[in-house]
């Protein structure tokens, strides 16, 4: 099978150029300015053609909470959002804390094959923060890294040993860094908005303390730590300092943290309730600077589906988190439009850096010999993000039913055209 993409504006993390792409089977066979032909030809009309997005942080809720999402609906939403590789978190039920569970996820995904699913195992059994999981077994079964996301390991000794043990297998820890005692009971960022709304606050310091501890442990154990969804400017500053000191730390930011602020919560809209919470405008601005200056390595969605019954209730009882697979591109393109980042930065943050962090040498750029994980982006397409577009089982996103600009027009996974806006082709 040969697929030809003609008149592409190819965007890699370090270059942009016009060319045609010839794909044979799973791989990029050639990139050329010569005329090419294939069994299937797509004229890209000089639209931006990017490497498929690697999303290092998703919740597919499978097994256990299939009423929110499952691996099939999740991967459909992923490719509709231009994402071709996903790392699902371990807070399923039962928890992904053993090789059998990891194997279940990998196998269930393989049948559909819309994306590559690289499960993140839990750090501790049942995410209880006590006993380490069998990391070696789980890596063999297809896991890629370890995290007790959402229930961060409180005990520093446990965290230290986890970092050391993972390092021994060539893997690493992904940390939702938070001092849970300091943040307990909190619902939104502690600041003026929590004063005005009477909603209890989560101080930035709870995140900053968590990040500082994890960085110090990373230094102690000489192992790589990846910090999830940085939201506070102080945490970012700590990461920047650590990088300067050559600590092996990487970090991610979510589209919602660089797009929204705590001001959105004045209306008690539960679709802005997430953890870490939306912070101040100043935090938001610093995050965007961090994306540009390299302090932030990755954009990840923290796609967190919840049923309407868990969101359309009193604010205090509502679940934390929003879906984000299909809003990553439009929200990021807004930064491009506002000249905060360029498309090369976008590629660096969504595929090149993740491929380096995850040691996935077969992807991360559009290059001869790499996997044909490719997306074609339409920057100007305007559409209403409603049920005809949304592929997730859930719709907990503040942008649901609003007009978005920019989307993945085509998504190609391992040489197969799997998505053409707005339809899944498989």
């Amino acid at each position: 099978m040969k697929l030809a993409l003609k008149n592409c504006l190819i965007i890699n993390h370090n270059e942009s150029f016009e060319a045609n792409i010839l794909i044979e089977d799973e791989k990029i066979k050639d990139i050329t300015n010569e005329d090419i032909n294939g069994d299937n030809v797509i004229d890209c009309h000089n639209k931006a053609v990017l490497p498929g997005i690697i999303d290092m942080h998703v919740h597919f809720r499978d097994p256990g909470f299939e009423y929110k999402e499952d691996i099939i609906s999740g991967s459909r939403a992923a490719v509709a959002g231009g994402i071709t590789t996903c790392l699902p978190m371990a807070n399923t039920y039962p928890v992904n804390d053993n090789a059998g569970m990891t194997r279940y996820m990998v196998e269930r995904n393989r049948k559909l094959g819309l994306v590559d699913l690289l499960p993140i195992g839990s750090i501790t059994k049942k995410m209880e923060g006590k006993e380490l999981v069998e990391m070696g077994d789980m890596l063999k079964a297809g896991a890629i890294a370890f995290s007790d996301d959402g229930l961060p390991v409180g005990n520093s000794e446990v965290m230290r040993r986890a970092m050391e043990y993972a390092k021994g297998f060539g893997s690493f820890i992904i940390s939702h860094s938070e001092d849970r005692e300091l943040s307990q009971g909190g619902m939104i960022n502690e600041g003026e908005i929590s004063t005005i709304t009477g909603l209890s606050g989560i101080p930035s310091a709870s995140e900053d303390i968590g990040v500082a501890r994890d960085i110090l442990l990373s230094k102690l154990t000489k192992s790589h730590i990846h910090i999830c969804h940085v939201s506070s400017k102080v945490a970012l500053k700590i990461i920047k300092m650590a990088k300067k000191e050559r600590v092996n730390v990487s970090c991610e930011v979510t589209p919602h943290h660089f797009s929204f602020t705590e001001e959105s919560l004045l209306d008690y809209n539960t679709n802005y309730k997430m953890n870490p919470p939306l912070r101040s405008t100043e935090d938001q601005e610093m995050l965007i600077c961090g994306m540009k200056d390299g302090t932030i390595d990755v954009i990840a969605t923290d796609h967190a589906p919840h049923h309407t019954d868990e969101k359309h209730i009193e604010f205090g009882n509502a679940a934390f988190g929003i879906i984000g697979l299909q809003t990553l591109i439009p929200l990021s393109l807004k930064l491009v439009k506002d000249n905060k980042i360029d498309l090369n930065d976008f590629v660096r943050l969504t595929s090149y850096n993740p491929s380096k962090i995850l040691k996935l040498d077969d992807r991360g750029s559009i290059e001869k010999g790499k996997l044909a994980d490719i997306i074609v982006i339409d920057k100007d397409k305007e559409y209403i993000f409603d049920d005809t577009i949304n592929q997730s089982k859930s719709c907990n996103n503040p942008l649901y039913k609003t007009t978005l600009k920019g989307c993945a027009l085509y998504t190609i996974k391992k040489g197969r055209l799997v998505y053409k806006f707005p339809d899944i082709l498989i």
């Binding site: 502690e190 600041g191 003026e192 929590s194 004063t195 005005i196 709304t197 009477g198 909603l199 209890s200 606050g201 101080p203 008690y268 019954d309 359309h312 209730i313 009193e314 604010f315 205090g316 009882n317």
Partner: protein, 310 residues
Amino acid sequence: MEYKKKDLTGTKNLSAEEILFILETAKKLKEINSREIKKVPALKGKTIATVFFEASTRTKNSFEVAAKRLSADTISVTSSYSSTLKGETLLDTVHNIRSMKTDIFIIRHPLSGAAKFVADNIDTPVINAGDGTNEHPTQALLDILTIQEHKINLKGLNVAIIGDIDHSRVAKSDIWAMNKLGMNIKIFGPSTMIPANIEPFECSLASSISDAIRDADVIMMLRIQLERQSKLLLPSLREYANFFGLNNKNLSYAKKDAIIMHPGPINRGVELNSDVADSPQSVILNQVESGVAVRMAILYLLGIQKRRNK
């Protein structure tokens, strides 16, 4: 003037004009409470539902008396609330009651924003009788009505609000409302009970109880919620009384004609010493009296509005 909002969820979103209009209406209705026959037919045929997810005797009774004085029928739902208990949702509860063709909801709930959430999702007026640590608007209105009855002008009055500001919905509603009416507010309490960011309050923070009370026209002591406080916010009631309680001695810093207020119920010897609680300067019982008038006013304003809409 008329009150055009569908609900009363807080004082934060009220204008000075709206506040004063509700208070003027309350003053007119207050006289009914001194009549031999304390009843007018203003809301005859209306059904008012009080839905309380938190214990209350004073506020609930005050609302019910107010409704009855206006000839409305009342039904009352009291429900113990637990966030961990899976039961009927808040919206299902109110929709069920609404199906009995009730006309106005009065809601108290332990979560901030709960009254607004119900108001946004139901077609009848909702009155917030206290939501979490957010607002308790009728308490603020009755406080201001009481002040009006003792002072000539609201504008420029010095008000000291002392106690657990962070967890007090009464303090919040008072602060939002009093600011709009041009009153000068000073707050004070243990630092653990002052929100981390007080800028939105547009008030000053006192450094001691004498500093808070100095030149005050109005002293509002908040109730220490014994059941709510952990030892992390407050080591002991004894220490609280020493540093944050009002007694005859520190009262001398206030203006001679200062009035003493408290939303009740009082913890005698903690936030208020009996010598001041029972002094002529105390207007605590006047507050309770004003409460009925203010609640009659808001029920009336929302009740007739509904009638007009039909």
